[in-house]
Protein backbone atom coordinates (compact mmCIF):
# COMPACT_ATOMS: atom_id res chain seq x y z
CA UNK A 1 0.00 0.00 0.00
CA UNK A 2 1.68 3.20 -1.11
CA UNK A 3 1.52 5.74 1.67
CA UNK A 4 2.35 9.30 0.63
CA UNK A 5 5.27 11.28 1.92
CA UNK A 6 3.64 12.77 5.02
CA UNK A 7 2.80 9.33 6.35
CA UNK A 8 4.53 6.10 7.14
CA UNK A 9 3.42 2.69 8.29
CA UNK A 10 5.11 3.51 11.59
CA UNK A 11 2.89 6.53 12.29
CA UNK A 12 0.19 6.27 14.96
CA UNK A 13 -3.45 6.34 13.80
CA UNK A 14 -4.28 9.84 12.62
CA UNK A 15 -6.74 10.35 15.44
CA UNK A 16 -3.86 10.86 17.90
CA UNK A 17 -2.27 13.88 16.19
CA UNK A 18 -5.63 15.12 14.90
CA UNK A 19 -7.22 15.55 18.33
CA UNK A 20 -4.38 17.84 19.43
CA UNK A 21 -4.49 19.83 16.21
CA UNK A 22 -8.25 20.32 16.25
CA UNK A 23 -8.07 21.47 19.87
CA UNK A 24 -5.43 23.97 18.79
CA UNK A 25 -7.53 25.30 15.94
CA UNK A 26 -10.52 25.81 18.23
CA UNK A 27 -8.27 27.64 20.71
CA UNK A 28 -6.95 29.87 17.95
CA UNK A 29 -10.46 30.91 17.00
CA UNK A 30 -11.39 31.61 20.62
CA UNK A 31 -8.19 33.61 21.03
CA UNK A 32 -9.13 35.89 18.15
CA UNK A 33 -12.57 36.46 19.63
CA UNK A 34 -10.94 37.57 22.86
CA UNK A 35 -8.45 39.87 21.11
CA UNK A 36 -11.23 41.51 19.11
CA UNK A 37 -13.59 41.82 22.07
CA UNK A 38 -11.07 42.80 24.75
CA UNK A 39 -8.42 44.51 22.65
CA UNK A 40 -8.07 47.48 24.95
CA UNK A 41 -7.10 45.25 27.87
CA UNK A 42 -4.61 43.27 25.81
CA UNK A 43 -3.04 45.96 23.63
CA UNK A 44 -3.25 48.87 26.05
CA UNK A 45 0.28 48.41 27.35
CA UNK A 46 -0.68 47.44 30.86
CA UNK A 47 -0.49 43.74 30.21
CA UNK A 48 -0.54 42.42 33.75
CA UNK A 49 -4.30 41.92 33.76
CA UNK A 50 -6.25 38.69 33.92
CA UNK A 51 -7.60 39.03 30.39
CA UNK A 52 -4.14 39.23 28.88
CA UNK A 53 -2.58 36.56 31.06
CA UNK A 54 -5.43 34.19 30.25
CA UNK A 55 -5.14 35.05 26.55
CA UNK A 56 -1.38 34.43 26.60
CA UNK A 57 -1.87 30.98 28.13
CA UNK A 58 -4.66 30.23 25.66
CA UNK A 59 -2.33 31.23 22.83
CA UNK A 60 0.81 29.46 24.03
CA UNK A 61 -0.71 26.33 25.53
CA UNK A 62 -4.15 25.96 23.98
CA UNK A 63 -3.20 26.96 20.42
CA UNK A 64 0.51 26.60 19.69
CA UNK A 65 1.57 23.85 22.07
CA UNK A 66 -1.44 21.66 21.25
CA UNK A 67 -0.82 21.94 17.51
CA UNK A 68 2.89 21.31 17.91
CA UNK A 69 2.28 18.21 20.02
CA UNK A 70 -0.01 16.88 17.30
CA UNK A 71 2.50 17.71 14.58
CA UNK A 72 5.34 16.03 16.44
CA UNK A 73 3.29 12.88 17.03
CA UNK A 74 2.61 12.68 13.29
CA UNK A 75 5.95 13.79 11.90
CA UNK A 76 8.55 12.17 14.18
CA UNK A 77 7.70 8.74 12.73
CA UNK A 78 7.76 10.17 9.21
CA UNK A 79 10.93 12.24 9.52
CA UNK A 80 12.94 9.87 11.70
CA UNK A 81 11.48 6.50 10.65
CA UNK A 82 10.77 5.31 14.19
CA UNK A 83 7.52 4.43 15.96
CA UNK A 84 6.11 6.55 18.75
CA UNK A 85 6.89 4.77 22.02
CA UNK A 86 3.25 4.42 23.11
CA UNK A 87 0.09 5.51 21.32
CA UNK A 88 -1.89 4.77 24.51
CA UNK A 89 0.31 7.11 26.51
CA UNK A 90 -0.17 9.76 23.85
CA UNK A 91 -3.95 9.47 24.08
CA UNK A 92 -3.89 9.37 27.86
CA UNK A 93 -1.90 12.59 28.06
CA UNK A 94 -4.40 14.49 25.95
CA UNK A 95 -7.18 14.64 28.56
CA UNK A 96 -5.28 16.21 31.47
CA UNK A 97 -3.65 18.62 29.02
CA UNK A 98 -7.04 19.68 27.62
CA UNK A 99 -8.75 19.96 30.99
CA UNK A 100 -5.72 21.66 32.47
CA UNK A 101 -5.42 24.36 29.84
CA UNK A 102 -9.17 24.99 29.75
CA UNK A 103 -9.24 25.26 33.53
CA UNK A 104 -6.21 27.56 33.70
CA UNK A 105 -7.59 29.97 31.13
CA UNK A 106 -10.99 29.95 32.79
CA UNK A 107 -9.29 30.46 36.14
CA UNK A 108 -7.39 33.51 34.88
CA UNK A 109 -10.49 35.02 33.30
CA UNK A 110 -12.57 34.52 36.45
CA UNK A 111 -9.67 35.51 38.73
CA UNK A 112 -9.86 32.19 40.54
CA UNK A 113 -6.36 31.26 41.75
CA UNK A 114 -7.49 27.89 43.10
CA UNK A 115 -8.78 26.88 39.68
CA UNK A 116 -5.58 28.07 38.02
CA UNK A 117 -3.50 26.04 40.46
CA UNK A 118 -5.52 22.84 40.20
CA UNK A 119 -5.89 23.02 36.45
CA UNK A 120 -2.24 23.98 36.07
CA UNK A 121 -1.27 20.81 37.88
CA UNK A 122 -3.37 18.77 35.43
CA UNK A 123 -1.83 20.58 32.46
CA UNK A 124 1.67 19.84 33.71
CA UNK A 125 0.79 16.14 33.96
CA UNK A 126 -0.55 16.10 30.43
CA UNK A 127 2.46 17.91 28.97
CA UNK A 128 5.00 15.90 30.94
CA UNK A 129 3.33 12.75 29.53
CA UNK A 130 3.97 14.00 26.00
CA UNK A 131 7.62 14.85 26.80
CA UNK A 132 8.18 11.41 28.34
CA UNK A 133 6.57 9.70 25.35
CA UNK A 134 8.85 11.54 22.93
CA UNK A 135 12.02 11.04 24.98
CA UNK A 136 11.31 7.30 25.08
CA UNK A 137 10.64 7.39 21.34
CA UNK A 138 14.00 9.05 20.67
CA UNK A 139 15.87 6.07 22.13
CA UNK A 140 15.26 4.35 18.80
CA UNK A 141 16.67 7.09 16.56
CA UNK A 142 19.43 5.80 14.28
CA UNK A 143 20.21 8.60 11.84
CA UNK A 144 20.76 11.83 13.84
CA UNK A 145 19.88 14.56 11.36
CA UNK A 146 19.59 18.29 12.06
CA UNK A 147 15.81 17.77 12.23
CA UNK A 148 16.18 15.06 14.88
CA UNK A 149 18.35 17.27 17.08
CA UNK A 150 16.09 20.26 16.61
CA UNK A 151 12.94 18.35 17.60
CA UNK A 152 14.63 16.71 20.60
CA UNK A 153 15.92 20.11 21.69
CA UNK A 154 12.49 21.66 21.21
CA UNK A 155 10.78 19.01 23.33
CA UNK A 156 13.38 19.43 26.09
CA UNK A 157 12.81 23.19 26.00
CA UNK A 158 9.07 22.50 26.28
CA UNK A 159 9.77 20.47 29.41
CA UNK A 160 11.85 23.35 30.80
CA UNK A 161 9.26 25.99 29.87
CA UNK A 162 6.44 24.09 31.57
CA UNK A 163 8.60 23.35 34.63
CA UNK A 164 9.69 26.97 34.87
CA UNK A 165 6.06 28.05 34.61
CA UNK A 166 5.22 25.70 37.45
CA UNK A 167 8.06 27.13 39.55
CA UNK A 168 6.93 30.69 38.78
CA UNK A 169 3.42 29.84 39.91
CA UNK A 170 4.68 28.28 43.15
CA UNK A 171 6.97 31.26 43.59
CA UNK A 172 3.98 33.59 43.56
CA UNK A 173 2.82 31.83 46.70
CA UNK A 174 6.07 30.90 48.42
CA UNK A 175 8.57 33.41 47.01
CA UNK A 176 11.71 31.29 46.73
CA UNK A 177 13.06 32.42 43.37
CA UNK A 178 15.44 35.35 42.99
CA UNK A 179 16.07 37.68 40.08
CA UNK A 180 12.88 39.71 40.02
CA UNK A 181 9.67 39.25 38.10
CA UNK A 182 10.89 40.65 34.77
CA UNK A 183 13.98 38.46 34.64
CA UNK A 184 11.88 35.41 35.52
CA UNK A 185 9.44 36.25 32.74
CA UNK A 186 12.32 36.78 30.31
CA UNK A 187 13.57 33.29 31.08
CA UNK A 188 10.05 31.85 30.57
CA UNK A 189 9.71 33.65 27.23
CA UNK A 190 13.20 32.66 26.05
CA UNK A 191 12.56 29.01 26.81
CA UNK A 192 9.11 29.01 25.21
CA UNK A 193 9.40 31.29 22.19
CA UNK A 194 12.99 30.65 21.12
CA UNK A 195 13.33 27.12 22.50
CA UNK A 196 10.05 25.21 22.23
CA UNK A 197 8.26 27.17 19.49
CA UNK A 198 11.02 28.26 17.15
CA UNK A 199 13.12 25.09 17.35
CA UNK A 200 10.04 23.02 16.49
CA UNK A 201 9.37 25.28 13.52
CA UNK A 202 12.98 24.91 12.38
CA UNK A 203 13.03 21.15 12.90
CA UNK A 204 9.73 20.51 11.16
CA UNK A 205 9.92 23.42 8.70
CA UNK A 206 13.27 22.49 7.20
CA UNK A 207 11.56 19.33 6.02
CA UNK A 208 8.03 20.47 5.23
CA UNK A 209 8.77 23.76 3.47
CA UNK A 210 10.85 22.18 0.69
CA UNK A 211 8.34 19.35 0.43
CA UNK A 212 5.37 21.67 -0.02
CA UNK A 213 7.27 23.97 -2.40
CA UNK A 214 8.62 20.98 -4.32
CA UNK A 215 12.13 22.28 -3.86
CA UNK A 216 15.34 20.33 -4.20
CA UNK A 217 18.99 21.04 -4.75
CA UNK A 218 19.34 23.93 -2.29
CA UNK A 219 22.23 24.20 0.14
CA UNK A 220 21.75 22.53 3.53
CA UNK A 221 24.96 23.81 5.08
CA UNK A 222 23.36 26.50 7.22
CA UNK A 223 20.61 24.37 8.78
CA UNK A 224 22.69 22.94 11.61
CA UNK A 225 24.23 26.31 12.45
CA UNK A 226 20.85 28.07 12.46
CA UNK A 227 19.28 25.49 14.78
CA UNK A 228 22.31 25.48 17.09
CA UNK A 229 22.40 29.28 17.39
CA UNK A 230 18.70 29.31 18.15
CA UNK A 231 19.12 26.71 20.90
CA UNK A 232 22.08 28.59 22.36
CA UNK A 233 20.17 31.86 22.25
CA UNK A 234 17.22 30.27 24.03
CA UNK A 235 19.44 28.62 26.65
CA UNK A 236 21.56 31.69 27.42
CA UNK A 237 18.48 33.90 27.47
CA UNK A 238 16.81 31.55 29.91
CA UNK A 239 19.84 31.15 32.14
CA UNK A 240 20.57 34.85 32.02
CA UNK A 241 17.03 35.70 32.94
CA UNK A 242 16.80 33.07 35.65
CA UNK A 243 20.09 34.15 37.20
CA UNK A 244 19.12 37.80 36.98
CA UNK A 245 22.07 38.61 34.72
CA UNK A 246 20.21 41.15 32.62
CA UNK A 247 22.82 43.51 31.20
CA UNK A 248 25.35 41.50 29.26
CA UNK A 249 23.75 38.14 28.74
CA UNK A 250 20.32 39.01 27.34
CA UNK A 251 21.52 41.17 24.40
CA UNK A 252 24.02 38.44 23.58
CA UNK A 253 21.27 35.84 23.63
CA UNK A 254 19.07 38.11 21.54
CA UNK A 255 21.89 38.55 19.04
CA UNK A 256 22.21 34.81 18.62
CA UNK A 257 18.47 34.57 17.95
CA UNK A 258 18.66 37.36 15.35
CA UNK A 259 21.52 35.64 13.54
CA UNK A 260 19.66 32.32 13.67
CA UNK A 261 16.64 34.01 12.06
CA UNK A 262 18.78 35.62 9.38
CA UNK A 263 20.23 32.22 8.47
CA UNK A 264 16.77 30.65 8.43
CA UNK A 265 15.51 33.47 6.20
CA UNK A 266 18.40 32.92 3.78
CA UNK A 267 17.65 29.21 3.72
CA UNK A 268 13.95 29.79 3.04
CA UNK A 269 14.85 32.18 0.21
CA UNK A 270 17.12 29.48 -1.23
CA UNK A 271 14.38 26.86 -0.88
CA UNK A 272 11.83 29.08 -2.63
CA UNK A 273 14.35 29.89 -5.39
CA UNK A 274 14.77 26.16 -6.07
CA UNK A 275 11.06 25.41 -6.13
CA UNK A 276 9.49 23.53 -9.04
CA UNK A 277 5.93 24.45 -8.13
CA UNK A 278 5.34 27.61 -10.12
CA UNK A 279 2.41 29.17 -8.31
CA UNK A 280 3.03 30.31 -4.76
CA UNK A 281 0.67 28.20 -2.70
CA UNK A 282 -1.28 29.13 0.40
CA UNK A 283 1.20 27.41 2.70
CA UNK A 284 4.14 29.23 1.12
CA UNK A 285 2.34 32.59 1.41
CA UNK A 286 1.68 32.00 5.09
CA UNK A 287 5.28 30.86 5.64
CA UNK A 288 6.74 33.94 3.97
CA UNK A 289 4.43 36.24 5.92
CA UNK A 290 5.39 34.44 9.13
CA UNK A 291 9.07 34.79 8.30
CA UNK A 292 8.64 38.52 7.83
CA UNK A 293 7.10 38.81 11.29
CA UNK A 294 9.86 36.62 12.71
CA UNK A 295 12.55 38.90 11.36
CA UNK A 296 10.66 41.92 12.69
CA UNK A 297 10.21 40.33 16.12
CA UNK A 298 13.85 39.35 16.47
CA UNK A 299 15.03 42.83 15.41
CA UNK A 300 12.63 44.53 17.85
CA UNK A 301 13.75 42.13 20.58
CA UNK A 302 17.38 42.92 19.95
CA UNK A 303 16.72 46.66 20.03
CA UNK A 304 14.86 46.23 23.32
CA UNK A 305 17.65 44.21 24.86
CA UNK A 306 20.14 46.90 23.87
CA UNK A 307 18.03 49.34 25.84
CA UNK A 308 16.11 51.10 23.04
CA UNK A 309 12.41 51.95 23.24
CA UNK A 310 10.40 54.32 21.04
CA UNK A 311 9.73 57.47 23.04
CA UNK A 312 5.98 57.35 22.41
CA UNK A 313 5.59 53.81 23.82
CA UNK A 314 5.40 52.69 27.40
CA UNK A 315 7.59 49.71 28.33
CA UNK A 316 4.46 47.55 28.45
CA UNK A 317 3.31 48.57 24.99
CA UNK A 318 6.82 48.01 23.58
CA UNK A 319 6.88 44.50 25.05
CA UNK A 320 3.36 43.85 23.70
CA UNK A 321 4.58 44.83 20.24
CA UNK A 322 7.44 42.36 20.40
CA UNK A 323 5.40 39.48 21.81
CA UNK A 324 2.55 40.06 19.34
CA UNK A 325 4.94 39.99 16.36
CA UNK A 326 6.59 36.83 17.66
CA UNK A 327 3.49 34.94 18.76
CA UNK A 328 0.63 36.07 16.50
CA UNK A 329 2.87 36.83 13.50
CA UNK A 330 5.83 34.48 13.30
CA UNK A 331 4.59 31.43 15.18
CA UNK A 332 0.85 31.55 14.47
CA UNK A 333 0.95 32.34 10.75
CA UNK A 334 3.60 29.70 10.15
CA UNK A 335 1.46 27.10 11.90
CA UNK A 336 -1.77 28.12 10.11
CA UNK A 337 -0.02 27.66 6.77
CA UNK A 338 1.25 24.20 7.69
CA UNK A 339 -2.19 23.20 9.00
CA UNK A 340 -3.72 23.97 5.60
CA UNK A 341 -1.54 21.16 4.25
CA UNK A 342 -1.27 18.70 7.08
CA UNK A 343 -4.87 18.45 8.34
CA UNK A 344 -6.44 17.83 4.90
CA UNK A 345 -3.71 15.26 4.29
CA UNK A 346 -4.42 13.43 7.57
CA UNK A 347 -8.16 13.38 6.87
CA UNK A 348 -7.53 12.17 3.32
CA UNK A 349 -5.35 9.39 4.66
CA UNK A 350 -7.97 8.41 7.24
CA UNK A 351 -10.94 8.53 4.86
CA UNK A 352 -9.72 7.80 1.34
CA UNK A 353 -6.34 6.10 1.22
CA UNK A 354 -7.84 2.61 1.19
CA UNK A 355 -10.16 3.54 -1.66
CA UNK A 356 -7.59 5.24 -3.91
CA UNK A 357 -7.25 3.42 -7.20
CA UNK A 358 -10.50 1.51 -6.77
CA UNK A 359 -12.94 4.40 -6.87
CA UNK A 360 -12.90 8.12 -7.58
CA UNK A 361 -11.40 9.96 -4.61
CA UNK A 362 -10.92 13.71 -4.16
CA UNK A 363 -7.58 15.44 -4.39
CA UNK A 364 -6.20 16.42 -1.00
CA UNK A 365 -6.60 20.10 -1.81
CA UNK A 366 -10.23 19.67 -2.86
CA UNK A 367 -11.25 18.91 0.70
CA UNK A 368 -11.57 22.65 1.40
CA UNK A 369 -12.50 25.64 -0.72
CA UNK A 370 -9.48 27.46 -2.19
CA UNK A 371 -11.43 30.73 -2.07
CA UNK A 372 -12.03 30.34 1.67
CA UNK A 373 -8.32 29.69 2.12
CA UNK A 374 -7.39 32.81 0.17
CA UNK A 375 -9.69 34.96 2.30
CA UNK A 376 -8.23 33.42 5.44
CA UNK A 377 -4.74 34.41 4.32
CA UNK A 378 -5.59 37.97 3.24
CA UNK A 379 -7.59 38.78 6.37
CA UNK A 380 -5.15 37.16 8.78
CA UNK A 381 -2.22 38.94 7.15
CA UNK A 382 -3.97 42.31 7.05
CA UNK A 383 -5.36 41.93 10.56
CA UNK A 384 -2.09 40.77 12.14
CA UNK A 385 -0.04 43.44 10.36
CA UNK A 386 -2.60 46.11 11.22
CA UNK A 387 -2.63 45.08 14.87
CA UNK A 388 1.16 45.11 14.99
CA UNK A 389 1.42 48.56 13.43
CA UNK A 390 -1.25 49.92 15.75
CA UNK A 391 0.42 48.49 18.85
CA UNK A 392 3.81 49.90 17.82
CA UNK A 393 2.12 53.25 17.26
CA UNK A 394 0.60 53.08 20.72
CA UNK A 395 -3.00 53.00 19.44
CA UNK A 396 -4.87 50.28 21.34
CA UNK A 397 -8.20 51.25 19.81
CA UNK A 398 -6.93 50.80 16.25
CA UNK A 399 -5.28 47.56 17.29
CA UNK A 400 -8.68 46.27 18.39
CA UNK A 401 -10.21 47.15 15.02
CA UNK A 402 -7.39 45.33 13.23
CA UNK A 403 -7.92 42.40 15.59
CA UNK A 404 -11.49 42.19 14.31
CA UNK A 405 -10.12 41.83 10.77
CA UNK A 406 -7.82 39.06 11.99
CA UNK A 407 -10.82 37.42 13.65
CA UNK A 408 -12.60 37.36 10.30
CA UNK A 409 -9.54 35.63 8.85
CA UNK A 410 -9.54 33.12 11.68
CA UNK A 411 -13.21 32.36 10.99
CA UNK A 412 -12.43 31.61 7.34
CA UNK A 413 -9.55 29.40 8.47
CA UNK A 414 -11.73 27.53 10.94
CA UNK A 415 -14.46 27.11 8.32
CA UNK A 416 -11.99 25.65 5.81
CA UNK A 417 -10.87 23.12 8.42
CA UNK A 418 -14.50 22.33 9.24
CA UNK A 419 -15.05 21.58 5.56
CA UNK A 420 -12.16 19.14 5.73
CA UNK A 421 -13.05 17.48 9.02
CA UNK A 422 -16.74 17.02 8.23
CA UNK A 423 -16.21 16.17 4.57
CA UNK A 424 -18.53 18.97 3.47
CA UNK A 425 -17.00 19.26 0.08
CA UNK A 426 -16.33 16.03 -1.77
CA UNK A 427 -15.95 17.04 -5.40
CA UNK A 428 -16.28 13.80 -7.40
CA UNK A 429 -13.28 13.28 -9.62
CA UNK A 430 -13.50 12.23 -13.23
CA UNK A 431 -12.57 8.57 -13.39
CA UNK A 432 -10.03 8.87 -16.22
CA UNK A 433 -7.21 8.40 -13.72
CA UNK A 434 -8.73 5.36 -11.97
CA UNK A 435 -7.56 1.89 -12.82
CA UNK A 436 -9.92 -0.08 -15.08
Amino acid sequence: MGLPALATKKAPPVTLPLRFMVTGIASYLLLHFVLAARGRDVFGGDYLNMTTIGAVHLATLGWVSMVMIGAIYQLVPVLLQIEIHSEKLGRAGYWPALAGVAGMVAGFWTADPGLVAGAGFLAVIGFYTFVLNILLTFRRVRGWTVQAWAILGAVLFFFLTVSWGLLLALNLKYGFLGGGFRAQMAAHAALGLAGWFSLTIYGVGYRLIPMFALSHGFSERRQGVAALLLALGAATGALGGAAGLGRGVLPFAGGLVVIAFALFALDVRDIIAHRRRRRLELVTNFSLAALGFGILASLLLWLALLGFRPSWLSPGAWLTGIVHAALMGWVSLMIVGQIFKVVPFLIWLHRYSERAGREAVPLVRDLYSAQVGRWAFLLLLAGTAGTELAVLAGRAGLATVAAAVALAGALFFAYAMLQVLLGLRFVPRRTEDAEG
Binding site: P4, F212, L214, R277, G357, L363, E435
Partner: protein, 77 residues
Protein backbone atom coordinates in the same frame (compact mmCIF):
# COMPACT_ATOMS: atom_id res chain seq x y z
CA UNK B 1 1.31 10.33 -33.59
CA UNK B 2 3.70 8.55 -31.30
CA UNK B 3 6.54 10.09 -29.41
CA UNK B 4 9.29 8.87 -27.13
CA UNK B 5 8.76 6.85 -23.98
CA UNK B 6 10.95 7.99 -21.10
CA UNK B 7 11.33 5.97 -17.91
CA UNK B 8 12.54 7.15 -14.51
CA UNK B 9 12.95 5.14 -11.33
CA UNK B 10 12.27 7.13 -8.15
CA UNK B 11 12.39 4.23 -5.73
CA UNK B 12 14.49 4.85 -2.64
CA UNK B 13 14.52 8.63 -3.03
CA UNK B 14 13.17 10.82 -0.23
CA UNK B 15 10.52 13.47 -0.81
CA UNK B 16 10.39 15.85 -2.54
CA UNK B 17 13.09 14.51 -4.84
CA UNK B 18 10.78 12.03 -6.67
CA UNK B 19 8.26 14.70 -7.59
CA UNK B 20 10.98 17.19 -8.49
CA UNK B 21 12.55 14.66 -10.87
CA UNK B 22 9.20 14.08 -12.56
CA UNK B 23 8.58 17.81 -13.04
CA UNK B 24 12.12 18.42 -14.30
CA UNK B 25 11.82 15.55 -16.79
CA UNK B 26 8.41 16.71 -18.04
CA UNK B 27 9.88 20.12 -18.85
CA UNK B 28 12.23 18.53 -21.33
CA UNK B 29 9.65 16.32 -23.02
CA UNK B 30 7.75 16.94 -26.22
CA UNK B 31 3.98 16.94 -26.53
CA UNK B 32 3.76 13.40 -27.91
CA UNK B 33 6.09 11.82 -25.35
CA UNK B 34 5.07 9.58 -22.49
CA UNK B 35 6.75 9.47 -19.08
CA UNK B 36 6.78 6.24 -17.08
CA UNK B 37 7.63 6.73 -13.40
CA UNK B 38 8.41 4.04 -10.86
CA UNK B 39 7.63 5.35 -7.35
CA UNK B 40 7.67 3.92 -3.83
CA UNK B 41 4.46 5.77 -3.04
CA UNK B 42 1.41 7.21 -4.71
CA UNK B 43 2.57 10.77 -5.44
CA UNK B 44 -0.47 12.45 -3.88
CA UNK B 45 0.91 15.95 -4.14
CA UNK B 46 2.01 15.45 -7.74
CA UNK B 47 -1.43 14.76 -9.22
CA UNK B 48 -2.83 18.31 -8.84
CA UNK B 49 0.39 19.73 -10.34
CA UNK B 50 0.06 17.43 -13.34
CA UNK B 51 -3.57 18.36 -13.85
CA UNK B 52 -2.80 22.08 -13.58
CA UNK B 53 -0.09 21.66 -16.20
CA UNK B 54 -2.44 19.87 -18.57
CA UNK B 55 -1.14 16.32 -18.14
CA UNK B 56 -3.13 13.11 -17.85
CA UNK B 57 -1.94 10.35 -15.54
CA UNK B 58 -2.64 6.72 -14.75
CA UNK B 59 -1.35 4.95 -11.66
CA UNK B 60 -0.89 1.19 -11.50
CA UNK B 61 0.04 -0.64 -8.29
CA UNK B 62 2.84 -3.15 -8.91
CA UNK B 63 3.27 -6.55 -7.24
CA UNK B 64 6.26 -5.43 -5.18
CA UNK B 65 4.25 -2.61 -3.54
CA UNK B 66 5.65 0.18 -5.69
CA UNK B 67 3.67 2.15 -8.27
CA UNK B 68 3.96 2.80 -11.99
CA UNK B 69 2.69 6.20 -13.05
CA UNK B 70 2.08 6.92 -16.75
CA UNK B 71 2.05 10.62 -17.65
CA UNK B 72 1.28 12.24 -21.00
CA UNK B 73 0.12 15.58 -22.30
CA UNK B 74 -3.62 15.98 -22.73
CA UNK B 75 -4.46 16.21 -26.46
CA UNK B 76 -5.81 19.62 -27.44
CA UNK B 77 -9.29 19.67 -29.02
Amino acid sequence: MSGKQIEIDNRGLTPPEPMVRVLDTLEQMGSGDVLLVRNDRRPLFLYPELEDMGYVHETEPLPDGSFLIRIWKKAKD
